[in-house]
């Protein structure tokens, strides 16, 4: 991996809260790469994403974003280069989409109104006069994605955005993501437990369980093993249990 093509490089990231521990998470994303974070509920996918966005603070580790350590910098400005679509898109429910957009765009100096209008009206066919609470889950994800892509982020983070969506909307969103990563040299970190989505867009997969990375591989690697992604995840989790059992005994 060329050093100048790396967008985000995470090294030994740790976070403990309550009984849950995220242990020594390390991975990197390069330009044009779509990386899938896969794991069961409570594996640490959302925690990893929240750490990157500094929504929660890490206990130790390093996050180099475009070469700068964002944990030491103590400035939120790096987030101007990050687009985020969360799992829960029920934000500002009483607000009109147009007003949310107006507010959102003042925080991003690279805001591109043309891209937004194209995605909002032509691709997603949304209406700015509608309120968030009047939208379906699919429409909310589309709106969040239009916002996230309109400031040309170098890194797009998506935390299980396709869960609960119908296959047509999911396919449309995945196609847009793939195109965006290729055309804009951006990296996409995509967390999901819908392995079908990973098959469609991911270049690389990171398997997480109990706050640890079990394995990092490409989709092709798994295909070569004549295995489905979910079967492979199950296999990895079972192996981990066996190893853990041996350790205890």
């Amino acid at each position: 991996m060329k050093k100048d093509s790396v967008i985000i490089d995470i090294k030994n990231l740790c976070k403990a809260y309550g009984k849950f521990k995220l242990k020594n998470i390390s991975f990197a994303l390069s330009k044009g790469e779509v990386v899938g974070l896969i794991g069961p509920n409570g594996a640490g996918k959302s925690t990893t994403i929240k750490l990157i966005l500094n929504i929660i603070e890490s206990d130790s580790g390093e996050i180099l974003f475009l070469g700068k350590d964002i944990l030491k910098a103590n400035s939120p400005l790096y987030k101007e280069e990050i687009g985020y679509v969360g799992e829960n898109v029920d934000f500002f429910l009483n607000q009109k989409l147009e007003n949310i957009k107006k507010y959102y765009k003042i925080y991003y100096k690279n805001w591109d109104e043309q891209t937004y209008q194209y995605l909002f009206k032509d691709v997603f066919e949304l209406n700015g006069e509608l309120k968030m609470k009047e939208l379906s889950k699919g429409m909310k994800v589309k709106f969040s994605l239009a916002l996230a892509l309109s400031h040309n982020p170098k890194l797009l983070i998506m935390d299980e955005p396709t869960s609960g969506l119908d296959p047509i909307v999911r396919s449309k969103i995945l196609r847009i993501l793939k195109e965006y990563a290729q055309n804009y040299d951006a990296a996409i970190l995509f967390s999901s437990h819908i392995t079908e989505d990973m098959n469609k867009i991911a270049d690389k997969l990171i398997f997480l369980n109990n706050g640890e990375i079990l394995e990092e591989c490409t989709v092709e690697d798994i295909k070569k093993k004549d295995c489905e992604i979910d079967e492979y995840l199950e296999l990895l989790i079972n192996n981990e249990r066996v190893n853990y059992g041996k350790g205890v005994l």
Binding site: L53, D90, F91, F92
Partner: protein, 202 residues
């Protein structure tokens, strides 16, 4: 600062307008008597605070909205600090509305007695700064629902001032205005400092 103003205009424009209209409407109490001046000094800025900052706290209360906001290039403390600054602006605007309304109404009905009381304004400002700070603290330390208990203190105090407005004014008459001005500045600075430096767990 520009971003903060834009936020309140885009996301809370209607309430901003309703807040100012309600504040002006409450100021009409001057038609009755100037003895309600101190009650208006308390009520109008708190009404404005409730319409502007309170409504924004309510809008931002859901976890999903907080997460959405924290994905922006902002620090957690900025979200709380912004409410403190807007809260202090509400106090200044609210107090100005009361004085302007009382002044205009006194002219309209030809009432010549003096009503402006600097000490009353300063004492109310001190109280409102403390009130706003506690409100913001409760909102971010716990959640929006906890702030609602605080509103009862305003309601209780308002009834006291309605009944004993004149007594309150004569009670604070003897206070040194310079000391009160310094107290307002110190309280305002402490309030901003606490909001800025507290480790908010959003």
């Amino acid at each position: 600062m520009e971003k903060v103003f834009c936020k309140y205009i885009y996301l809370n424009g209607k309430n901003l307008l309703f807040g100012i209209l309600s504040a002006c409407f409450f100021g009409l109490i001057a038609f009755d008597s100037n003895k309600y001046y101190s009650a208006a000094l308390l009520m109008v800025p708190s009404l404005l605070f409730s319409f502007v900052v309170g409504k924004m706290c309510y809008e931002e209360d859901p976890e999903s909205t907080k997460e959405f906001l924290l994905s922006f290039p902002v620090l957690k403390r900025d979200l709380a600090l912004e409410k403190n600054i807007v809260g202090q602006i509400c106090i200044v605007v609210g107090l100005s509305i009361v004085n302007i309304m009382f002044f205009i109404i006194n002219i309209i009905i030809g009432r010549t007695e003096a009503f402006i009381n600097l000490n009353a304004i300063l004492v109310m400002t001190c109280f409102l700064i403390i009130y706003n700070t506690i409100y913001i603290y409760l909102n971010y330390k716990f959640d929006y629902s906890k702030t609602q208990f605080l509103s009862y203190t305003i309601a209780a105090l308002m009834f006291i001032l309605f009944k004993f407005g004149n007594e309150f004014v004569s009670l604070i008459e003897g206070l040194n205005s310079y000391i009160l001005i310094i107290t307002v500045i110190v309280l305002s600075s402490i309030s901003l400092f606490i909001t800025r430096s507290y480790k908010w767990n959003l």
